[in-house]
């Protein structure tokens, strides 16, 4: 088989990888804000849930989380009479999103806490409520600071999608493995796959740059 014949199946796999990355990154971003802000809540229950989520998903292996959602959850569901079988895509997106969201939540918390205390003092002096202060004062200043870390996490997430091939999801890594079993042409296939991941990472990085620049204006104009 000439090397360009590998491209079609690998491109199919790459498309799955792209979708996995996009959906799980969006899910992860949502979870980052919910639990990052939750960790700073006045309400101890919200804080406790947020801390538990962050520590559990940061403190365990992504592979085990993935296997747990895909293999263990249906059995656990069975025991309590619920059908919790997830399609591989859903399990993959959920595991990746939950995992990256736990890291992202710490980024969100850190960036909010890095807003200088004097901004909070000004907000107090103007009698803003806690919620108004969060939405109008701290988040607009914190989000631009989160973007470089979010960029890193998004690229990391892209690479982590390869693990989803282990729950028989037909992503790029899965297709590569299939082709390699069939042709034994490891060098060519893995070289192409390497370049494809790298190309996707470059595109993703460029997209995060654009996003970073577009929220950067919230910092206020530079003189």
């Amino acid at each position: 088989m000439p090397w360009f014949d590998y491209l079609k199946p690998l491109a199919d796999g790459a498309w799955i990888t792209v979708q996995l990355t996009v959906f799980s990154t969006i899910l992860g971003a949502l979870l980052s804000f919910i639990f990052g802000i939750g960790k700073l809540s006045d309400n101890w229950a919200i804080r406790a849930v947020s801390i538990a989520y962050i520590e559990i998903f940061r403190g365990t292996s992504l592979l085990v989380q993935l296997f747990w959602l895909y293999f263990a959850l249906p059995i656990a569901g069975d025991a309590i009479g619920l059908d919790l079988r997830l399609p591989p895509v859903v399990a993959g997106v959920a595991a990746l999103g939950l995992n990256i969201g736990a890291y992202g939540a710490e980024v969100v918390r850190g960036a909010i806490q890095a807003v200088t205390p004097s901004q909070y003092e000004a907000a107090t002096a103007l009698n803003f409520t806690r919620r108004q202060t969060l939405w109008k004062i701290s988040l607009p200043q914190a989000i631009p600071e989160m973007m470089p870390s979010f960029g890193n996490l998004a690229v990391q997430n892209l690479k982590d999608t390869a693990l989803a091939s282990l729950i028989s999801l037909g992503d790029l890594a899965f297709r590569a493995e299939q082709l390699r079993n069939y042709t034994q042409d490891s060098t060519t296939i893995y070289t192409i796959v390497l370049l494809m991941y790298f190309g996707m990472a470059l595109v993703l990085t460029a997209m995060m740059r654009v996003l970073e620049a577009s929220v950067g204006r919230w910092r206020g104009a530079r003189s």
């Binding site: 004097s118 901004q119 003092e121 000004a122 200043q141 206020g220």
Partner: protein
């Protein structure tokens, strides 16, 4: 002296073992312009920060407009104030910060309209009119679309003053408003404050190191030392004829320094 609008009774504030305010008794009358001077660490900024509810007190009672600030009436006497009470009390106070503390992500206009709209519930139109009026007052009517970091320090501080005034406070607190400014920009800020003092019946409480200015605008000057008022009086009394040795030493050091 009319009914005091601000009253400190035996107020204690400490950080660990260090007492910043030591059984402080202090009153400010409605409309009075009071300047607080004193060495650093004497507790003068703390008085303003307590009034703005940025610092809690450890003892005593602070009242604003005859109502306790840090306490509210419980079934068995005063209990520590909750957020709702603090929010109600804060309405009466406005603060100007040493470092301006403008919101860097908002234009000058939005710095002035955001709180009146979301806190006081003003319409966009009304908030904008109020903002334009105040920017006129501080001489920045043409800068409303600029961001804070496009302005000089003096201009930023004038925006800071206008932003506090936009909430229509009864008492204005100025916490070393010119200390972070280059010397040539101090004048423009002091002029604005002097104009406010002359033309408005605002109560003003000012912490400053600008002695000549304190002399010009204040009804009363208080010299703070070691967490309490060491000496107070009219500017003339205090500056020309201080009674306490400690006051004389401080004034000598400041005026000759």
């Amino acid at each position: 002296m009319s009914e005091p609008i601000i009253k400190f009774e035996k107020v204690v504030k400490s950080y660990g073992n260090y007492r910043v305010l030591n059984d402080l008794d202090f009153e400010v009358a409605r409309g009075e312009k009071v300047t607080i001077i004193g060495p650093s660490g004497s507790g003068k900024s703390t008085v303003l920060r307590i009034l703005m509810t940025l610092e809690k007190i450890n003892g005593g009672v602070v009242s604003v407009g005859n109502e306790p600030l840090w306490h509210e009436q419980g079934p068995n006497g005063l209990v520590p104030a909750r957020e709702a009470h603090l929010r109600k009390m804060r309405k009466q106070l406005g603060m100007v910060f040493q470092q301006f503390n403008l919101f860097p992500h908002m234009t000058v206009l939005r710095n002035l309209t955001e709180a009146p709209m979301s806190v006081l519930g003003l319409s966009k139109q009304d908030a904008r009119e109020r903002a334009e009026e105040l920017l006129q007052l501080v001489g920045l009517a043409d800068q409303l679309q600029k961001f804070p970091n496009q302005l000089s320090g003096g201009q930023q501080q004038r925006v800071g003053i206008a932003r506090a005034l936009a909430m229509r406070p009864k008492v204005m607190l100025f916490d070393e408003p010119t200390s972070a400014l280059d010397p040539e920009l101090v004048g423009e800020v002091l002029n604005v404050i002097a104009k406010l003092a002359e033309e408005h019946d605002l109560t003003m409480l000012l912490v400053t190191h600008e002695m000549r200015f304190a002399r010009e605008v204040s009804d009363r000057v208080c010299f703070f030392d070691q967490g309490n008022i060491k000496e107070q009086g009219t500017p003339d009394e205090l500056f020309t004829n201080p009674k306490e040795e400690r006051t004389r030493a401080f004034l000598k050091a400041v005026l000759e320094g």
